[in-house]
């Protein structure tokens, strides 16, 4: 099965869970006097569920025949093995690490490490240049965010 049909299957499952909650769970929580209202909190979600289930089936069962098109600028799934997926995954992992470390490690340390490690992952070898540049950039950004925009970012690790 092609990727787009797999995705429509996943969205179908999401819609079914969403719909289950809309059709069966939400209305039970409704206060009795609200039930006289023509519109319930679940009305709109119910409509979306029906439409989303129907549309996912259209894609899943290939009722609408997709037009094959090739756009030169976009990514091509058949080229996947030629892409640098490992680098992308490492960078995403770095982003997750950044999210988890931002508070405990402080803005300066986590940002400098993120930018330098990111550069190294992408193949930068001149580390003696990379690290000073990232330190400078981080300090400038920190000044801009804290000083100019007035948003507090804890600069140092929690123990300092």
């Amino acid at each position: 099965m092609q990727l787009d049909r797999w995705i429509s299957f996943v969205i179908l499952c999401i819609s079914l869970i969403y719909g289950y909650s809309a059709f069966f769970v939400m209305d039970e929580l409704l206060a009795p006097f609200l039930k006289r209202n023509p519109i319930w909190p679940s009305t709109f979600p119910k409509i979306i569920t029906v439409l989303a289930v129907a549309t996912s089936f259209i894609i899943l069962l290939k009722i609408e025949r997709p037009v094959e098109r090739k756009s030169s600028s976009d990514m091509d799934l058949s080229e996947l093995k030629n892409y640098k997926i490992k680098e992308a995954i490492i960078l995403l992992a770095l982003m997750v690490a950044y999210a988890l470390l931002l508070r405990p490690a402080g803005f300066l340390l986590s940002t400098i490490s993120f930018l330098s490690l990111g550069g190294v992952v992408l193949g930068e070898r001149k580390i003696y240049l990379l690290i000073p540049i990232t330190i400078l950039a981080t300090l400038i950004i920190w000044y801009l965010v804290q000083g100019v925009l007035g948003i507090f970012l804890r600069p140092l690790p929690f123990f300092l």
């Binding site: 995705i7 023509p38 519109i39 996912s56 609408e64 999210a99 990379l130 950004i141």
Partner: protein, 505 residues
């Protein structure tokens, strides 16, 4: 109108706002030049900054400046590197890149700048004429019509974004609507679909979603495919920016025609700059004399001016539905709408009467933005083009960092960053499978408004009777259905014809 224009001039000509326009145009041009980063990603990255400014007109002026700058920057990279940053500037590279290869990069950039300037300015004049008229009409709309209008807008966006894959675009819109229902809505005072998680109590953050849908997938693609971030090591001598009087005379009618064409295409929801630029190119090629027709695709000055003008005029045109109806017609205006709502401004027909200074300041900022682009950016282009030589080992980590920072600043919550990465990965997979992402974001932004208007009409008419009792509502809903069904029927039909022909052959 004159009075409004004066209000706008008063508001826009403050020191702060002029700095905003200049800054916006420069930032936009800088980032827009990087292949792969289109106006949507840049505006998404700039929103947190704009929101912290606090003053809605200044924020909108900054974002509008970024928008024009990004489009101009996108044309620059199309011309110099044949690497269009966005779909809207693809047609620019048809003739712009051959010109640059012939050593006329400077001339090509000048033509692009003049064409963009003219397109943007004429577009702004048309906007000034049509927007007030349209908002007077829009004031007659009730919630039922608004609901129907939004349905039409969403359908049109899906119909255009899908181009043969309408079902996918519709599904993305519906997914966006689903995501909009998560959290505690104003209407019902009860949390919905939060799965008991406190972090979802206030729903998904629009900035995080915008970053995850547009900025992050582009950055991931840049990582995966190094060829996408073409390095600007190539020596392009950008000199001789002048064009001759004869050339000016040749492109003048093209610019005139395409400004009007582009503007009206831009007004249509979902059509936007891409369609306008391709259409402009096609029209001019057909109108050109046979001798000039052969030049198209090989460095024709008309072929460069046409899409550039149409593209910029369409961008201005796309502000019409945003400012008058509060319904965005494109991904970019959807992001702008989100930013406005975050700044406590509700765009729509009342914007003009309630806060005319914002409305007119935006229009005046369009003029200023275009002039800034022309006089500031054009001489600076040879220097700005240096940004293309930043190595990707520095560029990509910084882009990723700015997306992270953007969603962190908005919420001050590191869970938001995990949501960003999660959605970013999903968006990348969706993009691989050719699912359009703009409908998702537009659905998400319009979702709560759509539900509000729907609920209000339901309450007023005690049921779905409003659809049949208000002829305009019924008409609009039928139009929406036609928009959805027609393209898929047509593709089915044309496929049948072509397969018949193939069999006949």
């Amino acid at each position: 109108m004159l009075e409004g224009l004066l209000i706008g001039l008063g508001a826009a000509f403050s020191f702060q706002n002029i700095v905003m326009v200049i800054l916006g145009c420069l930032i936009g041009t800088f980032i827009g030049m990087l292949p792969g980063l289109g106006p949507m990603s840049i505006i998404a990255i700039m929103i947190p900054v704009a929101i912290t400014i606090g003053d809605p007109s200044a924020a909108l002026i900054l974002l509008a400046g970024v928008y024009y700058g990004a489009i101009f920057g996108g044309s620059t990279s199309s011309i110099l590197l044949n690497a269009p940053g966005v779909a809207g500037t693809v047609a620019t590279s048809f003739d712009g890149y051959p010109m640059a290869r012939r050593g006329q990069a400077g001339k090509a950039l000048t033509v692009a700048a003049i064409a963009s300037f003219a397109g943007g300015t004429i577009g702004a004049v048309l906007l000034m004429i049509f927007a007030p008229a349209l908002s007077t009409v829009a004031l007659l709309f009730h919630s039922a019509e608004y609901f129907a209008m939004m349905i039409v807008g969403l359908s049109a966006i899906a119909a255009f974004a899908g181009s043969g894959n309408v079902a996918k675009a519709v599904l993305m819109t519906l997914l966006g609507l689903m995501m909009a229902t998560v959290g505690e809505g104003a209407l019902f005072n009860m949390p919905r679909f939060t799965m008991g998680l406190m972090d979802l109590q206030s729903g998904f953050s629009f900035i995080t979603l915008a970053m995850a849908m547009f900025a992050l997938p582009e950055a991931i693609f840049l990582v995966m495919n190094p060829a996408r971030s073409v390095q600007g090591g190539r020596k392009n001598d950008i000199k001789d920016l002048r064009i001759t009087r004869e050339e000016g005379r040749r492109i003048a009618p093209v610019i005139g025609r395409q400004s009007i064409q582009g503007f009206f295409i831009g007004v249509l929801p979902g059509a936007g700059a891409t369609i306008a630029s391709f259409l402009g190119y096609a029209i001019e090629r057909n109108l050109a004399p046979a001798k000039e027709q052969k030049e198209f695709g090989k460095g024709s000055i008309k072929g460069l001016a046409a899409p550039e003008t149409a593209n910029n005029a369409a961008c201005t045109g796309s502000f019409v539905p945003l400012l008058t109806l509060g319904i965005p017609g494109s991904g970019t205006t959807a992001i702008l709408l989100g930013a406005l709502i975050a700044l406590n401004v509700t765009p729509g027909p009342r914007l003009m009467s309630d806060s005319p200074e914002i409305f007119w300041a935006v229009i005046v900022s369009m003029y200023i933005g275009n002039i800034v682009l022309l006089i500031l950016n054009l001489p600076l282009i040879p220097y700005i083009a240096k940004v293309l030589t930043i190595p990707r080992t520095y560029l990509i980590p910084f882009i990723l960092f700015f997306t992270l920072m953007g969603s962190y600043i908005g919420q001050n919550n590191s869970t938001e960053l995990l949501i960003l990465v999660g959605f970013g990965v999903c968006a990348t997979i969706l993009k691989f499978a050719d699912y359009p992402l703009a409908p998702l974001l537009i659905g998400f932004i319009l979702g709560s408004m759509l539900e509000d208007n729907f609920s209000r009409s339901m309450q007023l008419y005690d049921g779905v009777g409003f659809i049949f009792e208000r002829p305009m509502t019924l008409g609009l809903i039928i139009l929406a259905m036609v928009l959805i069904v027609l393209p898929s029927l047509r593709s089915r039909f044309s496929k049948k014809i072509s397969s018949d022909v193939a069999e006949g052959d």
